[in-house]
Point group: C2
Chain length 145, copies 2
């Protein structure tokens, strides 16, 4: 099963792409740090200090300014995430996030999908607040259940 | 089953309470309009222009600055929502939202809970952006699946 989350951000797709793959920007809206610039084939270490969390991703595919695909885990064998940037007019973009790999029938799938949905909606909200309004302190405030 | 969503907002509980129940403020972060000030026993019409949506709630219980409980639908017989405001120090509040009434085993419950979770995370993110940073245009940008 998939989790699909979408948001319109009033910025060009390239700005959104750069905010995600550039380690100097990610801390403004998502993880507190990213170990290096994202590129296809690279393993990136992501740290979320506020939640005392650290994880790795494997970047599976990237198209500059258009798409980012990664798998959770250093071997990329976890859920697969595809972020697609669809231009809407000249200065606006529809950001579509699809996370695949939730196992139907698994006892914890409902909880896992709800936590995952929570994370993506919050990330996109913080990304919009950062790119449109310069707000860099919206992140890190979700209370985990 | 319940959906539980929590966020810390760096504002006193009374400010958060007022933002929700005061029709002059709700349009900055949630629905585009609310028909009248919220009070226990009142039926409130909520409109979300961007999604061409309109609905009613029945306010079941309110404690000034502390708690708001309502049921969806003019008779309040839909899901029940409890918003609890827990002070964290003098100028910060943990906002806890619980929505109850999802029927376990119902075929559409997963989709309904994910949509509901999406709505609450977005509402709380927009509320935080409004009260902490004065951002009133974060709302209305979610793309419904």
């Amino acid at each position: 099963m998939d989790n699909r989350t979408g948001m319109v951000i009033e910025r060009p797709a390239q700005d959104i792409f750069d905010a995600i793959v550039n380690p100097s920007k990610i801390g403004a809206f998502w993880f507190s740090s990213s170990s290096q610039p994202w590129q296809t084939g690279r393993i990136i270490t992501l740290v979320y200090e506020e939640y005392d969390a650290r994880g790795e991703i494997l970047v599976l595919d990237m198209i500059e300014g258009q798409k980012i695909c990664f798998g959770w885990g250093k071997d990329g064998q976890g859920n697969e995430v595809t972020i697609t940037l669809v231009p809407v007019g000249r200065a606006s973009t529809r950001v579509e996030v699809v996370e695949r790999g939730f196992e139907e029938g698994h006892a914890d799938v409902l909880r896992a999908m709800l936590d995952n949905k929570e994370g993506w909606v919050y990330m996109l909200s913080c990304l919009k607040a950062y790119l449109e309004f310069g707000v860099t302190a919206l992140r890190g405030a979700l209370v985990k259940g």
